[in-house]
Structure formats: C-alpha cells, structure tokens
Amino acid sequence: MKLINRRRRFLRDALALTGAVGLGGCDKLSETDWAPKVLGSATGLSHAAQRALARDAMAREYNEADISPVFRPNGSTDPQAPEYRALAANNFRDYRLGVGGRVAHPLSLSLDDLRALPSRTQITRHDCVEGWSVIGKWTGVQLSHVLKMAQPTKAARYVVFRCYDAMDDDSEYYESLGFDDAYHPQTLLAWELNGKALPIPNGAPLRLRVPRQLGYKMAKYLRHIELVDSFRSIEGGRGGYWEDQGYQWYAGI
C-alpha cells in the first residue's frame, strides 16, 4: 500500500513537473530572440497560402439589418495631441491629408476634396484581433483612386499610414499595407460610418478600411500617407505600431 502510494505520488509529481517544464518552456522560448522568429515564419506561409487561395476576392458585404447597434471602438478613442484637438475644435475644416514619399505627384487633400472624389459605400464586418466582430456601413474613397492620383514611382512597394493618435509610449500610431491590399476595391479612406460623419472614437475625420484584415490594420485619425520602398527604417521597423509590439504584419488571419 505504501509502495503504491509512493508510486502514485511519483507519477503525479512527474506529470506536474513535465507540465511545468513543458508550459514554462513555452514561456522561456517566448522570451528568446530566435523562437518568436521561428514561430513568426508561419505568418509568411499563411500570407502566401491566403494570397493564392483568396487573391482579389471580395469581403462579404452585409445588409442594413446586420449593422451593429454600436460600432465598438478600440485602441485610441480620443486623441489628445494639440494639433488634433485644434482640428477637432473646428470640426476638421482645416484638415488636410498629405500623400507623399515615393510618388510623382504629392497631394494635400481637404475633406471636401476627398468627398468630391468617386465614393464607395459598403456594409462590412470588422474583426478585432481579440476575437470580436462588429458590422458597419462605411463610405469613403477607394485608396486605389488616391494612389492613382499621386502616381507611386517604380520604387514604391508599401503604403504607410501616419496617424494623429499617440500611444502609451508616446509613439504615434502607424500602419502599412502592401500594394495587393492597397489597390483592393474594398480598401477605403472612409469619412462616414452608418450614414453619419465618422465619430471621434471611430477615427474622425478619416480612417482606413481593409475588411479582409484585422482591426489593427485599419489605422484611425489619418494624418499622412507615405509611399515607401521599405518600412525597415520607420519606427520599430516592422510596419506598424502593433507590429512593433510583436503582432503579425499580415493580419488576414
């Protein structure tokens, strides 16, 4: 009986130890430089596979009845930068979206300039990286249209979005897209949500919509669009604020 108890205790301890080493091992590996890189390599595979399978396919568009009563905002909901506060105080009448970098024709567009361009309205789903979804009706100009006006040079490979909202560590929010997503017909610079001027918590006056990727790609409070050949030299070098915190640059999954 004693022997059985001892054997049982040993088994139990061995199991607990294996579990602790196994799971603790995952924690230790997460802190190394190399393991996250190895794990991150799967994102490249996912991106390639999804590009091959989904190509230019359109995100599902919903009916008015599907729209969420509240379009839940996340991240920054009320930027405090003085420059932004001044614009908001004047209802964004002085707002200008700059488009520069590797383009033949740099642009500076007011909200009226943008509204004068051909617009697109779409009821699409917004999937947060946390797991929840909301549905909203968005109106804006296709990013492809603005890019055609600016004419990216041959060297341009990415579109970088600079924003007004400062994050906890005082670095400004930014994001970037490759050309396949930038030129997708549902990729919008949106100024209207559910038929009304875009509210501040949702990114007033202008935000990006990329319905085939997760929410953090859809930069709010757009300040400036910059065409670049590489985003390695920008901020943390990974192509976005959350990417610099370890999130995947490709957020289609």
Partner: protein, 293 residues
C-alpha cells in the same frame, strides 16, 4: 480489472487440469513507426494549440452566435465582479446561468495575486496575458497540425490503416451494445481481441480525427477575414463568424474530453504496455497457448 500483465512478474504456475486454457504473453507489432511519429507530433500540436488557443480566447473571454458580437448577450463568458469588500470574484456565465468560478475561470492567481483573466495562467501559452505571442504559437503549430493531419490521412488510406483498423466492421456494429456495457464495466478485451481496435475505439478515433480535426481547422479558417472572402458559404452555413469562433472553441473542448477519456483508457488497460506500444510499436497480449490444449 486486471489487464494484460506488464513486464517481468510471471503468473504463478497453475496445474494444467485446473486451467483448461493456458494464456501466454505474446508481443505483437501494433503501431507502425510513421503512425507512432505522427501520433506524438499530433499530441504536441494539440497541447500547444489548446494552450495558445486559451490565451487568444482570454483576449476577449466571451462567445457569441451569429455574424457579429452581441456584447450584452454572450452565450458563454468568463468575467469578473468586485465584491463590496473589494475582493475579485470570477463569474462564468452560460446563457443566463451564472457560476462563481473564482480561482479557475474569470479570476485566478497570477504571482499569488488574484487577477482578472478568462482561463488561468497555468493553462495558457504563454502564461502571462500576451495575445501576440499566443497567436504566434497558435498559427505555427496549426500549420504543423494540418500538415501532419494530411500526412496521416494519406498514409492511412495508402496502407489501408483507415479501412482495416479504423472503420468498424459489420461484426463490430453488431457487437456495439455489448461493447458499451463492457466499457462501462471497465471490462476490456483480452487475447487476440485486444490486438485490434474495438468498435467504440474505432468510432471515437474516426469522430475525433475527421469531425473534430477537420471541423476545428475549417472553423479556424472561417474566422480569418481574408479566407472569408472565399469561404463565405461555410461561414454562413454555421451562422456567421462569431458562430465559427464558438464552434472552434467547442471542438477544442471536444479534444479535451477525448484526451481525458483517452488517458483514462490508457491507464485502465495498462499504462506500461500502452505507452510502450505507442513508443516502440510493441504491444503485449495474452494469447491462448495452443501447445497445452
């Protein structure tokens, strides 16, 4: 229930006249090497996918039905409330039923202090709240899980492991009632019968491999906004993206249930023998000793 004897200890000699049938220990080659390797790859993948999956779940510990989140009406949520005395209580809500699950779900200790988190730190990969890293683990091992699964399917078809060992025979189906009773009484097959999978085992393996395994992958893909542009039919078939997330979770819980039963059966039918057979392939059975007949 005593099962197949493990190593060493020989049974006491029984006079031939008292024992009309003599049982001898015979070792059979039960699992081929590719199957053993794939089994263990799969086991590691499932463990990591579960831990990292719970980490991802913790970023928004609530589940919904439909295309979008009905934030005030989740069907499952692991939340927290604060008592009047300031103490945190974990509250698990299933529909309108609320349960105090402090210490387990909703509120559990992190470094000795109660913290608000869906599943406890010991169950998630990584332990601390770290969504980005959880996703990195999850998607890496999801690829290995899928590739391993495809290899298994091809191998099982090619070697007829699927049709010969897994699909129940007519005789199996006829004996299903007795098999259920036997399992409930922990009465396990002996002799040559123990060398093959019994009917409940076959059904369980098929359900877990194809329904749970296939389902969990499809529901994972149905959560991808990019894949939804071509899998719209699948998303709609299950009721929407949030339904897909719920079903993905339920399949994962199905794997946990299977794992518990699997480990239970491994233990009651002989840990040593079973472990050896899935590591070395060699499995001992008690066979009738024809020489004494």
């Amino acid at each position: 229930m005593a099962s197949i004897p493990e190593d060493a200890i020989p049974p006491p000699p029984i006079p031939a006249e008292q024992a009309p049938t003599q049982w001898v220990r015979r070792v059979v080659y039960r699992h081929t090497m590719p199957l053993r390797i794939m089994h263990w790859i799969n086991a590691i993948c499932l463990l990591i996918l579960l831990g990292s999956g719970l980490q991802i779940f913790n970023a928004h510990p609530a589940l919904y039905w439909g295309q979008r989140s009905t934030f005030d009406r989740p069907w499952l949520s692991l939340g927290a409330t604060q008592n009047r005395d300031g103490k945190l209580r974990g509250v698990t809500a299933i529909g309108t039923h609320r349960f105090d699950t402090t210490g387990w779900f909703g509120v559990s200790n992190v470094n000795g202090q109660p913290a608000v988190r869906g599943f406890p730190a010991w169950a998630t990969i990584p332990g601390p709240q770290w969504l980005a890293m959880g996703r990195a683990w999850h998607f890496f091992f999801a690829w290995i899980f899928v590739i391993n699964g495809v290899c298994f399917f091809a191998y099982a078809l090619w070697t007829r492991h699927l049709t010969r060992d897994l699909v129940p025979t007519r005789r199996d189906w006829r004996g299903i009632g007795r098999s259920i009773v036997d399992h409930a009484l922990l009465r396990h097959p002996h002799g040559e019968e123990a060398a093959r999978y019994n009917v409940l085992q076959r059904i369980a393996y098929l359900v877990v491999i194809f329904f749970f395994g296939g389902g969990v992958v499809l529901m994972g893909l149905a959560m991808s906004p990019r894949m939804d542009s071509v899998l719209g039919w699948l998303v709609d078939a299950v009721g929407g993206r949030q339904s897909a997330r719920s079903i993905h979770f339920l399949f994962a819980m199905g794997f946990v249930a299977f794992f518990l039963i699997h480990i239970f059966e491994v233990i009651v039918t002989g840990v040593g023998n079973n472990l050896r057979s899935i590591i070395t392939g060699r499995y001992a059975i008690e066979a009738r000793d024809e020489t004494h007949q």
